[in-house]
Amino acid sequence: MIGVEHFLTVGAILFCIGLAVALSKRNAIGVLMGVELMLNAVNLTLLTFSRFSVSSRPVAGQTFVVFVVTVAAAEAAVALALAVSVYRNRATIDVDKIDLLRS
């Protein structure tokens, strides 16, 4: 029997893998991939609650996921444009070496 806990646990594992990727990767694009994994985990959790919760407005959970996907797409476009722009100026997207603001 598959219950709400199973889906939430998968969402939690996926979120934590995404967090580990985002915190540990050296390449800025790798960090972005971690952020995308976390957003996917959050969507999975939102849909789990939308499916299993007692609610007077069951469609709200799915609507929220639509907005999360929209914002994720906008975020990915801007972040990748930033990575390409930084690469043009510094010839690297290693997050350890992008330290212009360090005094």
Binding site: T48, S85, A91
Partner: protein, 171 residues
């Protein structure tokens, strides 16, 4: 969610999704990491079908696999000298430790909570979703479209080359 079918689908999808998410973390080549990321997106789309959100599963495939993954691939190909390296920073160990600690806390919360759940799926049609988007939440919907336009214009501005900007300044 009873019966053999959903349980089997759940375990297969969990295996696929989590193994490929681990692959994003583990592989050394950034291009291979993107391919694992695509596999993870497909697995999450399968979960959406299992949670009876068929429209969002299609949207997940089209937007994540079709658009965002291709965008990431393009960004990798546009930064050639940065290498295909998927290595870790010096701060990898604390980051992974933090993720494991967060996981322990979240799993404790999940196990400790008494979830009041419904047995049957609420059965949401695409028509209901469309009506919700264009009636109840029409203002957030329009704001999201403005946000998308602004993000597109912004990313085009960011990746313009200096020569193009000089040409525009002359014109």
């Amino acid at each position: 969610m009873d019966g053999f079918g959903p349980a089997f689908a759940f375990w297969v999808l969990s295996f696929l999704t989590l193994i490929s998410a681990g692959g994003v973390m583990a592989v050394r080549n950034l291009l291979h990491a993107v391919l694992f990321l695509i596999l993870t997106f497909i697995g999450v789309a399968g979960f959406f079908v299992l949670l009876s959100a068929e429209f969002l599963a299609m949207a997940q495939i089209i937007i994540y696999v079709g658009a965002i993954a291709v965008l990431i691939l393009f960004a990798i190909l546009l930064t050639p000298r940065a290498g295909r390296d998927n290595g870790e920073t010096r701060w990898a160990a604390p980051g992974i430790l933090l993720a494991v600690a967060l996981f322990a806390v979240v799993v404790f919360a999940i196990q400790d909570t008494n979830w009041a759940t419904v047995k049957d799926s609420p059965d949401i049609t695409v028509q209901q979703l469309g009506e919700a988007l264009l009636q109840t939440w029409v203002l957030p919907f329009e704001i999201a479209s403005v946000l998308l336009t602004a993000a597109l214009v912004g990313s085009i501005m960011l990746v313009r080359s200096p020569e193009e900007e000089a040409e525009d300044a002359l014109a």
